[in-house]
């Protein structure tokens, strides 16, 4: 009387964990995902920089992994746009530009457009975003990258009270739940930016809004809108996280949120037992195969004995042998050699580990 049994258990809800769970669920398996918070990617822009892709090596497998991840995001209603060959210049938090190969559509649309006039719109009272600073920096940096895009600063005020200072979380939640607010917001933007070809806003177009809802909002405003990165937590990244989780839930993945895996037990030729530190007695999950994708937390689960991983994504003992045939690692964990290749490695290893974990299903009689 103790177990929740799954074909595949994934630990960690970052890009690697979500991709691994998606890859396993894609094989019609019973999948669970255990995680404490959302992945650390919600603190950043959840984009893959062009140089990361180069460092990760543009292999066929990486293209396949990215295609899978993009398809998952599209079905989740939060599409990722890609330009693997050249990347696109996208604005950073400080108004510089960097080459990005893959990013959520709302951020992707913030790329400079040749000869266009872009309105950088701030919100009165939103102290974490300064439209004048941003427009100045973007104008200066656009020249550096040889773009002729012109940025002008504008500000709008909301008639509704979002606190002092205005909280982007409150605005985003109101955007999600109140259609009349979206109408007011759109009309304020239309009035403020007549003449601009497109609008740049700090990321606040909904915590859980779909691409379709954002597209409807753009139609209401009458031009394209791009979101700019903000201080953490990044609302476009939280949106990606929430929508991917929603999609995976619909695909049958069971989420266990809030408490860390405190112990894993590997027994030869039988499912792996995971002990989750839920309140009271620990909750026990059993996975025929397990993917660890929770970064340093995973490393400590392996008792510090892990000496890297093999091509099959098995963690290795100091002696160089696989710890278990049904245990896999994904994410930046143990990829010391990968340098600064962040999200690209997350996607690649998540996809590979999820696929391999799914393939070991049915190996054990202990079901």
């Amino acid at each position: 009387m103790e177990s929740n049994r799954y074909d595949v258990v994934v630990v960690g809800a970052g890009i690697a964990g979500l991709t691994a769970a998606g890859a396993a669920a894609h094989q019609n398996l019973k999948v669970a995902l255990v995680a404490t918070g959302p992945g650390s990617f919600v603190l950043g822009t959840s984009s893959v920089k062009a140089h990361e892709l180069l460092e990760a090596g543009q292999t066929h497998e990486l293209s396949e992994a990215i295609a899978f991840c993009r398809e998952m995001a599209r079905l989740a209603g939060c599409p990722l746009e890609e330009d693997a060959a050249d990347g696109r210049w996208l604005p950073t938090l400080l108004g510089a530009f960097q080459r990005v190969a893959l990013a959520p559509r709302a951020l992707w649309q913030a790329a400079p457009r040749e000869g266009a006039s872009a309105a950088v719109v701030g919100i009165h009272g939103l102290t974490t975003f300064d439209e004048n600073f941003m427009a100045d920096r973007l104008n200066e940096n656009a020249r550096r990258i040889g773009s002729s895009c012109i940025y002008t600063a504008h500000q709008i005020s909301f008639t509704r009270d979002f606190g002092i200072p205005v909280s982007s979380v409150r605005v985003a939640k109101c955007f999600d739940r109140d259609p009349s607010f979206r109408v007011e917001f759109a009309s304020a933007l239309r009035k403020a930016v007549s003449g601009a070809q497109y609008i740049l806003l700090p990321g606040l177009l909904g915590m859980n809004s779909s691409a379709q809802q954002i597209a409807e909002f753009e139609r209401e405003v009458g031009c394209a809108i791009g979101e700019l990165p903000t201080l953490p937590p990044s609302i476009p990244s939280l949106r990606l996280s929430q929508r991917l989780e929603g999609y995976l839930r619909r695909a049958g993945v069971e989420f266990f949120r809030g408490y860390p895996v405190e112990q894993i037990e590997i027994h030869e030729d039988s499912p792996i037992r995971l002990q989750v530190a839920s309140p009271g007695h620990p909750m026990i999950l059993r996975g025929e195969s397990v993917v660890l994708a929770s970064g340093q937390h995973s490393a400590s689960l392996l008792g510090g004995q892990c000496a890297g991983r093999d091509q099959q994504m098995h963690p290795l003992t100091a002696a160089g042998s696989a710890m278990a045939q049904n245990l896999f690692v994904a994410g930046s964990l143990l990829d010391n050699g990968s340098g600064n290749s962040g999200e690209a490695i997350e996607i690649l290893t998540g996809y590979r580990a999820g696929t391999l974990a799914a393939a070991t299903r049915g190996c054990y009689a202990g079901r």
């Binding site: 009387m1 909280s167 739940r177 937590p233 860390p260 309140p279 009271g280």
Partner: protein, 404 residues
Amino acid sequence: MRADDFAIDNCLKCSICNTVCPVLSVHPQYPGPKQLGPEMERLRREGIHTDSKWVEYCLGCHRCDVVCPNQVPVSEMIAVAKAEHVKTPVHQLRDWWFARPGLLGELSTIVPSVTNFGLSMKPARALMSKLIQITPERKFPAYTKPSPRKAETNGKERPQFVFFPGCFIRYNRPDLAEKVVNLMDRNGFGTEVAATDCCGVPAVANGAADLARSLARTNIKALAAQVDAGRRIVTTCSSCGHMLKTGFGSLLSEDKELAEGARKVADNTFDLAELLMMQSDEGKLNTDFQKTDVHLAYHAPCHQKSQGTGRPWYHLLGQVPGVSIDDLDAGCCGMSGTFGFKEEKYDVSMAIGQDLFASVRASDPQFVVTECATCQMQIEHGTAVNTMHPVEVLLQAYEGRNSK
């Protein structure tokens, strides 16, 4: 350095807690869990006066704790500040009663029909609104004469489980206790209904830490003795379950022996659905269900989510042939026990519930199923869709009657 100082430094100021706070998203002035919890806790520990009326607006839903990537006990810190907050005399009086559902229950069930009649009358509710700021918008749940305070069993010689009913089942729905015993029986578990007191969640929520501590003491004594006698504890109210499983929060950290008892209770407490789901995983669940054609929508209470057990009721009810069930997954209902009854908080409570109400309307179920009594009240109040306790649905599936 105190051992618990570590928890403050664990807060990285990432603000992810603020993104899930039901109150912050609807109330423009509410500072949110990050500020009221770890940020103000730093000052409180330095002895700097930080009393804020906003701590009174914390629902105690634990969503901030659950989402925190670093396991900072955010809402526990707010609960401590709540206990120290100085209230207005009117709120003090009102919250004194709200902290004591057990006492309210005892008094109300002396002659339940008189209580129910009184509480349903408009003038009485208007008076309560005027005198002690209880909103006249809501109806109180009907009280029922409880079965005498003696242990009930389902006839097994030596019950393996003791059922912790909680105040709502004891004073308002004693029939549910019988139904729990019946369900347990059908799955081979002998069960006795405990004659315990309030779990203490309402006391914590209303800032009555001393009361919560004394309730915890009584309950731990009674329940630890049961555990020593080889029994385990089963609950079906998610808030009682949360309290028992978290070792009564940090209420007892100073008393080593009680804390040890609390640990024993926590380790041996199971939510009924969690227990049945474990049976199901082992292939031991009694699945002798009759076909029950009904469309249901399941709402997971916050204190169910905070137990970290997945969605056992959703999966159990989904096993009944003929049942179609949606997981509403639309956040907090906004009721939070006594919170929604407070006049000054009624609008906040209803604003929080809007997402859930919209989700109920979209699902268009015959019944919303949820194990929390006050979530039930809020859903019925906000949507006019009837609610059921999952225990009732499952029992009806065994008995082969169509719903209600």
